[in-house]
């Protein structure tokens, strides 16, 4: 490999920094450590596939590393969220509803405390709800999913989506209303 790789911690391979210094390499490793989970969750909220989300997260950090400006970013989370969202949108493919939820996601949504029957019922309802969220139009689903992350304020979601804050609020409201209606219809005997 042409560029030297050295380790800051015994388990994390770190790319050589722009100036070739260990300080920059350590700085980038810390940057990745701080934000990788957040970036992954943003990408997953959009791509809805763990592999695509991880690819988008890797690409996000690669772009930032190549840009060589990570130490100058003022709003790190906001900037990363915008890049991750853009890259994840590119990876999102139209798929059938039953393919939307991967086995990993199916297993992740069952509650460990509930009884087997309760758990099965909850899981069924939750899977159904996830499918309904996935079936929402993208312009409604994306603001809803980004806001549901709980790590972004509404104004930050608006910045990521490049929409006015009022539009984002209205879309989230519409999305929730649709879900409520569908849930109510499902509960009818």
């Amino acid at each position: 490999m042409p560029n030297a790789i050295f380790s800051v911690t015994p388990r994390a391979p770190v790319p050589e920094g722009a100036g070739g210094g260990a300080r920059r390499a350590a700085s980038f490793a810390a940057f990745v450590e701080r934000h990788s989970r957040f970036v992954y969750r943003i990408a997953l909220a959009v791509a809805r596939n763990p592999q695509d989300a991880e690819d988008a997260a890797q690409e996000t950090f690669l772009q930032i590393f190549r840009g060589d400006r990570w130490e100058e970013i003022e709003d790190e989370q906001g900037y990363l969220a915008r890049v991750a969202w853009r890259l994840a949108v590119r990876r999102r493919k139209p798929r059938a509803l039953e393919q939307e939820l991967s086995p990993e996601m199916h297993s992740a949504i069952s509650s460990p405390e509930a009884s087997p029957e309760q758990s099965a019922m909850d899981r069924q309802l939750e899977v159904w709800l996830h499918a309904r969220i996935d079936a929402l139009p993208e312009k409604l689903r994306q603001p809803l999913a980004l806001a549901a992350l709980g790590e972004l304020k509404l104004v930050e979601v608006a910045k990521i989506l490049r929409l006015p804050e009022g539009t984002v609020r209205r879309r989230i409201h519409t999305a929730r209303q649709k879900l409520r209606q569908e849930l109510a219809e499902r509960s009818k005997p």
Binding site: I5, A12, P15, F28, R37, Y40, L149, R176, L179
Partner: protein, 171 residues
Amino acid sequence: MNHENGRLDNLDTLIDAALASYTSLEPRPGLEQRILASVAAAGRPRRWGWRPLWALAAAAALIAVVAIPLVFRSARPTVAVLHPPAVAQHFPQSAPAPATPARYTLASHARPAATQSEVSHPLAQSSSGRLASMASAAPVTIALIRNQPLTDEPIHVKPISIAPIQIAALN
């Protein structure tokens, strides 16, 4: 089922719970290492910034400055079309110059007539016909035009010889 119906009373709570699990999936362990490894494999950051773009723009401008005059020069019509021999080339063979010798013979080092390929704008059919009729009407003039030299060198005219008048015959 009763339990589920009871929970559906509070739809918003259910939606919130579904949204929470919708976005809470954690990545596989070792995400940071995989990210750093992929970044390390991809190479060094680009330090040159905008400089190559400026270099490319300068090179493109230079090429444009050199190429545009060349293109325009090659597109200009050839000079040959303006010379009478080039026009004469289009005269039909049916109207040749008269066989009778002209009184004034022009020098023979005239420029060779332009070939068809040298003529950028061949004459239209009507123009050729008009010239042909002119040629038949004034053969001597056309013959003179045909043999007209294109250089600036002086025209050599043979001396005129007039036979002496035979006075004795009058007597």
